[in-house]
C-alpha cells in the first residue's frame, strides 16, 4: 500500500501555487521556483518509492519467472522502475505527480475533499496496449485498436467509516515543452489532415474526449478495488463494499471529480504565472457532468529531475 505522506515542505520550497476555484472548475498552477537539486530529489524519493512499491513487487515477480526450459529461476536482477527507458519514466512520473498533487494540494482543490491514493495504477500508454491485440511490434505505426483506454490516475475520498464517498480520476500528461501546440495536442488529440480542406486539424480524441465519455463507474475503479482486496482487505473492507454497492446500483455512482494533470517545462515564450489552460472559466470542450480539477506543473529542467529521481529509486539496493 502507498502510505508515505507528500513532502509538503520540500514542495513548498520548490513550487509556487496559483490556485483558483470557479463554480465547478478548479485550477492549480504550480510553477517551479528553482531548478531541481539533490535535496529535492532526496525529498521526493520516499514518496515515489512508496507509490511504485506495489507495482515493483509484481513487476519483479513476473520478470523473475523465466519460462526457458533450462531456467533454474532466480538469476534475474531487474530493478523496476529504474530499468525503464526515458519515455516510460516520464509517463510514470506524470502518474505519480498526479497523486502527489492530489494528496499535497487538496486544500486548494475544488471542494477540498480529503483525497487518498491507497495504491497507484501505472497505465501503459494507450497506443502500446495495441501490441496486446495485434501481436505486432511496430514503433512507427501505432494505433489504438479498441475503444477507450481509461484514466491514468484514480484516488478516493473516504468517509469516517471508510466507505468511498467520492472518486477522483483522470489523466496525467508529461510533455518536455508545454508549447501551445503540444498542449492543444493533449487536449484535443493529434492533428490529422482534413481530406476535404487539406488543412491539418485536431482529431478531437484528446483528454477532453476521454474525460467526457468515461463510464459512470470510472474505468480503473474495479482494478483499484481488486488491489485493495489483495493488499489490505480488512483495512479497506468498507471501501471495497461501497464500490460493490456502486456497481450493483445500475444508474447510481459516486460523486466524482475529473482530474487533468499536465506537467512539463514551460515554453520558451511563457511568462511567469501564465497558465497553459485558462483558469477563469470551465473549458467549453469539457462537457462531462462532473467537477473538473486542472493541475499544471510548470518545471525547469524537468527531465533532469525525472532522470535523477528515477536513477535514485531503490539505489541503495
Amino acid at each position: 500500500m502507498h502510505n508515505c505522506p507528500p513532502p509538503k515542505d520540500a514542495l513548498k520550497d520548490w513550487l509556487k501555487q496559483y490556485p483558483s476555484v470557479e463554480d465547478r472548475y478548479g485550477h492549480l498552477l504550480l510553477e517551479a521556483r528553482k531548478a531541481p537539486d539533490t535535496a529535492l530529489v532526496d525529498a521526493l524519493r520516499p514518496y515515489f518509492e512508496s507509490a511504485h512499491l506495489d507495482a515493483r513487487e509484481h513487476f519483479h515477480t513476473q520478470i523473475g519467472i523465466d519460462l526457458h526450459p533450462d531456467s533454474d529461476g532466480g538469476e534475474a536482477a531487474p530493478s523496476y522502475p529504474r530499468c525503464l527507458p526515458p519515455t516510460a519514466r516520464r509517463g510514470l512520473f506524470g502518474e505519480v505527480a498526479a497523486g502527489l498533487a492530489t494528496e499535497a494540494y487538496q486544500k486548494t482543490f475544488l471542494g477540498q475533499h480529503a483525497w487518498v491514493v491507497p495504491i497507484f495504477l501505472f497505465r501503459y500508454h494507450a497506443d502500446v496496449e495495441a501490441y496486446l491485440w495485434t501481436l505486432n511490434f511496430d514503433p512507427d505505426r501505432k494505433r489504438q485498436i479498441f475503444g477507450r483506454f481509461g484514466s491514468d490516475f484514480i484516488g478516493v475520498a473516504l468517509s469516517d467509516t471508510g466507505e468511498v464517498v467520492r472518486v477522483i480520476a483522470g489523466e496525467a500528461k508529461w510533455r518536455k515543452n508545454l508549447t501551445e501546440s503540444q498542449v492543444d495536442g493533449i487536449l484535443l488529440g493529434p492533428k490529422k489532415k482534413n481530406k476535404k480542406t487539406g488543412i491539418s486539424e485536431h482529431n478531437g480524441r484528446g483528454v477532453w474526449y476521454e474525460l467526457n465519455r468515461d463510464t459512470p463507474i470510472p474505468h480503473g475503479l474495479r482494478q483499484l478495488q481488486r488491489l485493495l482486496e489483495a493488499r489490505d482487505p480488512d483495512g479497506f473492507a468498507a471501501a471495497i463494499l461501497s464500490i460493490d454497492q456502486a456497481i450493483a446500483a445500475r444508474d447510481a455512482s459516486f460523486p466524482r471529480t475529473n482530474l487533468l494533470v499536465i506537467a512539463g517545462n514551460g515554453a520558451a515564450t511563457r511568462s511567469s504565472s501564465e497558465p497553459v489552460i485558462p483558469w477563469e472559466v470551465l473549458p467549453e470542450e469539457y462537457t462531462a457532468p462532473h467537477d473538473l480539477q486542472v493541475v499544471e506543473m510548470i518545471l525547469d529542467d524537468g527531465e533532469e529531475l525525472i532522470d535523477a529521481l528515477y536513477d535514485s529509486l531503490w539505489d541503495a539496493d
Binding site: D54, H58, T61, Q62, I65, D66, L67, H68, P69, D70, A76, A77, P78, Y80, C83, L84, P85, P86, T87, A88, G91, L121, F122, R123, Y124, H125, A126, V128, E129, Y131, L132, W133, T134, L135, N136, F137, P139, I145, F146, G147, R148, F149, G150, P216, H219, G220, R222, Q223, R226, L227, E229, P233, D234, A237, A238, I240, L241, D244, A248, R250
Partner: protein, 1212 residues
C-alpha cells in the same frame, strides 16, 4: 473483511436477480436476443441504438463483477457465479453475433467466450468463436485459447515466433533485466508493454502445450507466470485489457481442473503397465478437441474411477461417449483378464445408424487396443466378425434386436466373455403411451420390452458384469435407470441437468400471403419470459412472402403449412443454417408436395442449390447415383436431392440412408426431410428443426378406426435435442419450431370452416405438448416400465373377458395362449386374440430366461429352480425398480413362467428350439413345420453361383411362398388397399428389390410402400425365417455350446451351400449377387451397377487363381476376401519421416528431453520450446514438416552423441 462478506454476497445476489435469473430475461435482453437471431439469419433487425449497446455492455461488466464477488467469497464452484457468468456470456454473445459496433470498443467475443468457459458452458464458448470473424492476431490467439483449441494456440504462437526470431534467444525472457533493453527491443518507446505481450504469448503457448501433453511441472511454471502477468495487467493495463488477461488466467485455472489426464492417471493406477497407452489416449483426446472435460464428464469419470456400474444422465451432446469409452478401457484393458477368455463389451444402441457412428468413433480411438465391430449385415454374424474367434478384447456395437439374436446364437460364449454392458439412450426402456397398449404387445412390437428382457436376463446370468447406462435427462427415467444399473434401491444417476448449448422451442407462424414469424417460447426447458411482462418474444423473419399457392395446394391446410415451412427453410438455408423438416409419418407425401412446389413457376426465384465442387461434389454424385439406383429416375427423393434436400426414413435402403446422412453431415444438403428414425441418437449438424405436425395417425385395428396419437414428450425431446449439437452444428443454439398457420389458407368458403378447426387443433396439440414439456422438466423419480405394462395390459384384458382378480394368478398358470383364441399368433385384432398374443409375448420373455439357463447347465430346470430363477430375474428387471410395483406382478410373472415350463412348453428340447428360432413360442411352434422345407430349399441351392438372375430369385420366391400366407412369422401389411395390393403381388416387389433385370419398379408415389414391404417382410421377416433355420442347423452341427462360427468351418458344420450364408445379406442389399453384397458392404463399389461390373474382375482373378469357376467358388466369401486382399494398397502416408537429426542452439541439453515444436525459417527447421525459445535446429527434411505441425508433438533428445528430434504424436 469477513463480516462484510454477507453484505457483498447480497449485492452480488442483487445483480444476479436483476440480470441473471435463468431463462428469465429482461425486455432489453429479449430484444438483444431477437436482434442476434435476426442477424444470424440475415433478415432485417429490430431498432437498436448505441445506448442499448452500452447498457448491455455495462450489464455484462456488472455480471462479471458479481461473479467475481461470488467466487471471492464462495470459491470457484459458486452457483451464483455460474449464473452470472452465463448471463454475461449471453449478453456479450448476442451483441457479438449482432455485429454490434461495441466490438470496436472491446473484443466482446473474447469476454463472452471466457464468461461461458467460466460458466461451464464450453460448447457455447467454442460455438460462438467459430462463428465470428477475428481481425487481430492477438485476439485470434486468445480466442483459440478460450475455445480450448490448443493446437490453434500453438499454431498462432509459432507464427508469432517465426515473425520475431529475436525473441527466441536464450536470454529473451530476461530482456527487462538488461540495462540496454530499449536498444535490444529496438525502440525507446515503453518496451514493457511489448515485453508483457511477449511473455503472455510465451505463457499461453506453454500452457497449451503442457495441457495437451499432460506435463504437470512446466504447466505449473506457466500458470505462475500467467498469474504474475495478471497481477501486472491489473496495475498497468486498461480495465478491459486487464479484464481479459484476468479471464485468461481464470480460464487456465478451470482448465487445470478439467484435464482428461487427471481421471486417466487415476485409472492407470489400476494397471501401471498400461499407463503409457492411457496417456496416449489422453493425448489423442486433445488431438480431437476433447481433452478438456465438461462438468458432466468430470462427474461421470469420477464415478467410473470409484465404481463399475452407474447411470450417467446428461443432456444430449455433453460428451457421454468419452465416459463410455473410458469404461471400455477400464473393463477391457485394465482389469486383469481371466485366462484364455478375451473380455467383451456389448454396447447397445437404439438404431443401426447409431451403431455405425459409435463403431467409427470407437474404432478410431481404441481400434489399436480392441476389436470394435458393429454388426450391419443381414446375418447374425458376417465375414468380418473376427471378434468371435479372436483372443483380443472386443466391443460389439449392436441394436437390441441384434443383441437378442447374438445371445440366442452364441449365448454361452458371449456371456462367458462379457465384461461390460453399455446401454446408450437407456431411457428408451421407458415405454411411451402407445407402447403400453395391448395392441402393441400383441404385435410383438415393443422395443422397450425387448431391451428390458435382454438386459435383465444378462444381469441375471452374469450379475458381476459392469454396466453403464447413458441416458437423457428429463422424463423421470434417470433415477429408475440408475437403480436398475446399480441394483441398489438408493442409487442416483450421475450427471447434471443443464444443456450444453441453448435449446429453443417455439412456433413458426405460417401466414397465407403474408410474412411468417417465429414465436420463441421455451428456452432450455423453461418458459422464456420477459421479466415483469407477459409479452411473448417474437422474431419477425422478414423473408419474402410465399406466393399464393394454387387452389389444389392451399385447399389442404396441412399442405399449405408444410409448403410454407419449405419456403422458409429454403430462404434461411442461404445463411449457412442446416435445417431439418421432421415429419411424423408418410414422408412420401411431404416429398411429393415439396417436389411439386419447387416446380411451380412462382417459386422460380427461390434460392437454389448448387452441387459443390471437389470432394464434396464427388460424395454428392455418389449419393445421387445410389438414389437413382434404389429409387429411380422419377422418384421424389432424386428430385429433392437435386435441389439440395436430403431425405431419410426408416424404410429407405440402408446404403442410401447412410449416404443421405453423409450429405447432411458434410453439410452438402442444407435442408433435410426425414422421419424420426434419422435422428435417433445420431449427431447431425442441424441448427433448426421444423415440425409440421405433433400427431401421428394410427390404425386401431381392434376397433377398425383411425386414431391420432400425440407425439410423446420423450420423442419430442429426443428430436429437439438434435438441434444445435455442440461440435456438429454451428453450435451455440438449436431451435425447434412447430409450424402453425395463423389462418386458413383456402379461399373457398366451403373449406374455410374445416381449416379453422384444423388450425385450432394444431394449436391445441402444441399447447398440450408445451404444458407436458414444462411439467416434466421438473424432477421425477419414477417411470413406466414395459414388463409391468405388459402384465397390466394382460390383467386388464383378462378382467374384461371375465377373469376375476382372485382367479388371475391361477388362470395365468394354466391357460396356454392358443386356448384363448383360435386365431392366436396370427395378427388377429379381436380382443381374445390380442390377449392370447400378449400372453405369447410374455411367454417369450420367460421362455428365453428358462431356456438360457438350461443351455448353460445343459439340463432341465426343476419347478423349484425355475421359480427361483424367475424370481431372481424379476428382481433384475427395470419394472422392479422403475416405480412402486404391486405385489401381484412378481407373482404373475413367476406363475406364468411355471406354466410355460411345466405345462405349455414342457420339454427342454422344444424350449431350446423355440428359443433359438427367436419367434414368440406360439409362432415358433408353427414355424417348426417350415424348418424342413426351408432347409431343403437351402440345401438344394448348390448351383446358385452360376444361376441366372431369374433362377436365383425363384429360390427366394420359393421360400417366400412358404411364408406369405402366415400372419405370425410370415408377411404382414397394413389394412390399407394399397398395401393389400402389394401383398397380393409380392413376387413383383421381390424381383424389383433383388434387382432382377427388366423387372419394373414402383412409381414415385408407390415407392415408399414398396420400400416398406421390402424392409418389413423381405429384409426382416424372410430374413428372420432363413436366419432361424440356418442358426438351428449350425447349432445342431456344432460340437459344443461355446463354439463360434467361422468361415473356415461354416460349411462343414452346417452342410449347407454358400447361398444359405448369403441369403440374408442379399435381402439386405437388394441384390441376388453375393459379390455385389460383398462389394457394397466392404466399400469396394458404390452402387449395385458398379459392383456388378467389378464382379467380372473377381471372376477373372478366380480363374487365374484356381483355374476354374465352380459355382460355389463364385460365391465363396473366403475367396472374396482373398481377392480383396490381392488389390493394391494405397497407403503412402505411413511412410512419413518421424526422426530429424538436430543441432542444439538455445540449450545446453541439461534435461536430455525437451518438448519442441517446429517452425521453418530460412530453409531450416527451428525447434522451439512451446514458450518460444529456440532450442535446436535441423537442416534436413525441412519438407517433412507438415503445415499443421503445431498440432503434433515433437521431442528433442539432447544426448551428446546423437541429438535428434522425434515426432511422438501426429494428429489424425
Amino acid at each position: 473483511m469477513a463480516e462484510r462478506d454477507a453484505e457483498r454476497i447480497e449485492l452480488a445476489e442483487q445483480i444476479r436477480r436483476e440480470l441473471a435469473i435463468e431463462n428469465e430475461i429482461s425486455s432489453i435482453q429479449a430484444r438483444s436476443f431477437v436482434r442476434c437471431l435476426q442477424t444470424t439469419w440475415d433478415v432485417d433487425t429490430i431498432a437498436w441504438g448505441d445506448r442499448d449497446s452500452n447498457s448491455q455492455l455495462s450489464d455484462a461488466r456488472r455480471l462479471l463483477h458479481a461473479a467475481h464477488i461470488f467466487q471471492e467469497i464462495q470459491g470457484p464452484e459458486s452457483i451464483g457465479a455460474m449464473d452470472c457468468y452465463r448471463r454475461a456470456g449471453e449478453l456479450l454473445e448476442w451483441m457479438t453475433r449482432s455485429d454490434d459496433s461495441v466490438r470496436t470498443l472491446v473484443p466482446i467475443e473474447i469476454m463472452a467466450s471466457a464468461a461461458y468457459q467460466l460458466g461451464k458452458l464450453p460448447a457455447m464458448a467454442s460455438g460462438l468463436l467459430s462463428q465470428v470473424g477475428i481481425e487481430h492476431q492477438g485476439v485470434a490467439l486468445y480466442a483459440a485459447f478460450l475455445r480450448a483449441d490448443f493446437d490453434g494456440v500453438l499454431s498462432a504462437t509459432n507464427n508469432f515466433w517465426a515473425a520475431n526470431p529475436d525473441l527466441t534467444t536464450r536470454d529473451a525472457g530476461q530482456l527487462l533485466s538488461h540495462e540496454d533493453v530499449s536498444d535490444r527491443v529496438g525502440s525507446d518507446i515503453d518496451p514493457v508493454a511489448w515485453l508483457f505481450t511477449v511473455e503472455l504469448v510465451r505463457s499461453l503457448g506453454l500452457i497449451a502445450d503442457t495441457l495437451r501433453t499432460g506435463n504437470v511441472s512446466r504447466f505449473e511454471q506457466a500458470r505462475k507466470k500467467l498469474e504474475a502477468l495478471d497481477q501486472m495487467a491489473l496495475r498497468t493495463l486498461s480495465e478491459d485489457a486487464a479484464l481479459i488477461v484476468s479471464l485468461l488466467q481464470q480460464v487456465t485455472e478451470s482448465y487445470a481442473r478439467a484435464s482428461v489426464y487427471e481421471p486417466i492417471k487415476t485409472l492407470a493406477a489400476m494397471n501401471p503397465e498400461r499407463e503409457p497407452r492411457l496417456l496416449e489416449f489422453a493425448r489423442d483426446q486433445f488431438g480431437r478437441g476433447r481433452g478438456m472435460l465438461w462438468s458432466s464428464q468430470i462427474l461421470g469419470l469420477k464415478r467410473l474411477t470409484e465404481g463399475s456400474s452407474f447411470a450417467l444422465c446428461t443432456p444430449t451432446g455433453s460428451g457421454k461417449t468419452l465416459v463410455a469409452n473410458l469404461a471400455l478401457v477400464k473393463e477391457l484393458l485394465l482389469r486383469p483378464a481371466a485366462p484364455l477368455v478375451a473380455p467383451l463389451a456389448l454396447y447397445i444402441v437404439p438404431s443401426r445408424a447409431l451403431a455405425g457412428e459409435v463403431e467409427t468413433k470407437l474404432r478410431s480411438e481404441l481400434g489399436r487396443d480392441m476389436i470394435v465391430t458393429a454388426l450391419y449385415g443381414g446375418a447374425d454374424w458376417g465375414i468380418t466378425d473376427f471378434w468371435l474367434t479372436g483372443d483380443e478384447p472386443a466391443v460389439v456395437v449392436v441394436t437390441v434386436e441384434k443383441a437378442e439374436a447374438l445371445l440366442r446364437y452364441l449365448g454361452p460364449q458371449l456371456i462367458a466373455r462379457l465384461s461390460v454392458l453399455i446401454i446408450d439412450e437407456a431411457h428408451q426402456v421407458v415405454p411411451d403411451a402407445k407402447e403400453q397398449t395391448i395392441q402393441r404387445f400383441a404385435e410383438h412390437g415393443s422395443r422397450a420390452l425387448r431391451l428390458e428382457s435382454l438386459v435383465s436376463r444378462v444381469l441375471t446370468r452374469k450379475p458381476e458384469v459392469a454396466r453403464i447406462a447413458l441416458t437423457a435427462v428429463a422424463g423421470g427415467a434417470a433415477g429408475p435407470v440408475a437403480r436398475w444399473m446399480e441394483g441398489n434401491a438408493e442409487a442416483q444417476a450421475v450427471g447434471l441437468r443443464y444443456r450444453s448449448t441453448r435449446q429453443v422451442v417455439g412456433v413458426l407462424e405460417t401466414n397465407p400471403n403474408a410474412a411468417n414469424r417465429v414465436l420463441l417460447e421455451i428456452m432450455n426447458g423453461s418458459l422464456l419470459t420477459i421479466r415483469g411482462r407477459d409479452d411473448p418474444v417474437y422474431l419477425p423473419l422478414r423473408i419474402p412472402n410465399m406466393p399464393e399457392l394454387p387452389a389444389r395446394m392451399r385447399n389442404s391446410l396441412n399442405r399449405f403449412n408444410s409448403t410454407s415451412v419449405l419456403w422458409t427453410a429454403m430462404h434461411l438455408a442461404q445463411e449457412d443454417q442446416r435445417i431439418l423438416i421432421s415429419v411424423a409419418q408418410s414422408p412420401e407425401r411431404l416429398m411429393e408436395w415439396f417436389t411439386e412446389a419447387l416446380a411451380l413457376d412462382s417459386w422460380a426465384g427461390v434460392p437454389r442449390f448448387e452441387r459443390p465442387d471437389g470432394f464434396n461434389g464427388e460424395r454428392f454424385d455418389e449419393a445421387r447415383a445410389t438414389c437413382l439406383d434404389y429409387c429411380g429416375e422419377e422418384s421424389f427423393e432424386l428430385a429433392l436431392l437435386d435441389q439440395g434436400i436430403a431425405t431419410s426414413h426408416g424404410q429407405m435402403p440402408q446404403r442410401l440412408r447412410r449416404l443421405m446422412t453423409e450429405m447432411i453431415e458434410r453439410r452438402i444438403c442444407p435442408v433435410t426431410v426425414a422421419t424420426a428414425t434419422l435422428t435417433e441418437g445420431v449427431n447431425l449438424p442441424f441448427d433448426l428443426i421444423f415440425l409440421t405436425s405433433l400427431k401421428r395417425a394410427i390404425w386401431d385395428s381392434a376397433n377398425e378406426e383411425r386414431d391420432e396419437q400425440p407425439m410423446s414428450t420423450a420423442e419430442f425431446r429426443n428430436l429437439s435435442g438434435r438441434a444445435g449439437r455442440p461440435g456438429a452444428s454451428r453450435g451455440v443454439e438449436g431451435m425447434t419450431l412447430i409450424a402453425i398457420p395463423t389462418r386458413p389458407s383456402a379461399t373457398a368458403a366451403g373449406t374455410i370452416p374445416l381449416q379453422r378447426r384444423q388450425q385450432q387443433a394444431l394449436s391445441n396439440d402444441y399447447e398440450e405438448l408445451r404444458t407436458r414439456l414444462l411439467v416434466e422438466e421438473g424432477e421425477q423419480d419414477s417411470a413406466d416400465s414395459p414388463l409391468s405394462a405388459l402384465l397390466r395390459a394382460i390383467w386388464d384384458r383378462a378382467f374384461k373377458l371375465g377373469v376375476g382378480p382372485d382367479q388371475f394368478l391361477q388362470w395365468l398358470e394354466i391357460t396356454p395362449a392358443e386356448s384363448i383364441s383360435s386365431t392366436a399368433g396370427q395378427d388377429a385384432n379381436d380382443e381374445l386374440s390380442q390377449l392370447a398374443d400378449a400372453l405369447d409375448e410374455l411367454d417369450a420373455v420367460v421362455l428365453a430366461a428358462i431356456a438360457e439357463l438350461e443351455e448353460i447347465d445343459d439340463q432341465a430346470l426343476s419347478p423349484a429352480q425355475a421359480e427361483e430363477h424367475l424370481s431372481s430375474l424379476w428382481r433384475k428387471t427395470f419394472s422392479a425398480v422403475a416405480a412402486a410395483q404391486e405385489e401381484w406382478m412378481q407373482q404373475a410373472f413367476i406363475k406364468r413362467g411355471l406354466g410355460v415350463a411345466e405345462t405349455f412348453y414342457p420339454t427342454t428340447e422344444e424350449r431350446k428350439r423355440l428359443y433359438h428360432y427367436g419367434f414368440t413360442p406360439l409362432i415358433g411352434r408353427r414355424f417348426e413345420a417350415l424348418f424342413e422345407p426351408i432347409r431343403a430349399i437351402l440345401a438344394a441351392s448348390v448351383g446358385y453361383g452360376s444361376l441366372d438372375a431369374e433362377a436365383r430369385i425363384n429360390i427366394f420366391e420359393d421360400i417366400g411362398h412358404l411364408l406369405a400366407a402366415d400372419r405370425g412369422y410370415g408377411f404382414r401389411v397394413r389394412a390399407s388397399v394399397g398395401d393389400q395390393a402389394i401383398l397380393e403381388s409380392w413376387p413383383d416387389v421381390l424381383g424389383w428389390w433383388m434387382n432382377e433385370p427388366e423387372v419394373p419398379g414402383p412409381g414415385p408415389k408407390e415407392l415408399r410402400s414398396w420400400q416398406r414391404f421390402t424392409s418389413d417382410n423381405l429384409e426382416f421377416r424372410m430374413g428372420v425365417a432363413i436366419g432361424a433355420v440356418t442358426a438351428r442347423i449350425w447349432q445342431e452341427g456344432a460340437d459344443n455350446a461355446l463354439a463360434a462360427p467361422s468361415l473356415d468351418t461354416w460349411k462343414d458344420t452346417t452342410g449347407l451351400p454358400w447361398f444359405a450364408f448369403w441369403a440374408r445379406e442379399l435381402l439386405r442389399w437388394g441384390t441376388h449377387e453375393p459379390f455385389v453384397a460383398f462389394a457394397l458392404s466392404q466399400g469396394v463399389a458404390k452402387t449395385r451397377d458398379e459392383a456388378t461390373e467389378r464382379s467380372d474382375e473377381y471372376k477373372t482373378w478366380l480363374l487365374a487363381e484356381t483355374g476354374k469357376q465352380e459355382p460355389e467358388d463364385l460365391i465363396d466369401p473366403q475367396l472374396f476376401l482373398r481377392w480383396r486382399a490381392s488389390l493394391p494398397h494405397t497407403d503412402a502416408a505411413a511412410q512419413a519421416i518421424r526422426t530429424f537429426s538436430a543441432s542444439l542452439s538455445g540449450t545446453d541439453g541439461r534435461h536430455d528431453r525437451y518438448s519442441v515444436t517446429p517452425i521453418v525459417r530460412d530453409g531450416s527447421i527451428r525447434w522451439l520450446d512451446p514458450a518460444g525459445f529456440e532450442l535446436a535446429f535441423s537442416t534436413d527434411h525441412v519438407e517433412a514438416i507438415p503445415a499443421k505441425a503445431a498440432s503434433d508433438d515433437y521431442v528433442l533428445e539432447a544426448s551428446a552423441s546423437n541429438t535428434r528430434v522425434i515426432r511422438t504424436f501426429g494428429k489424425k
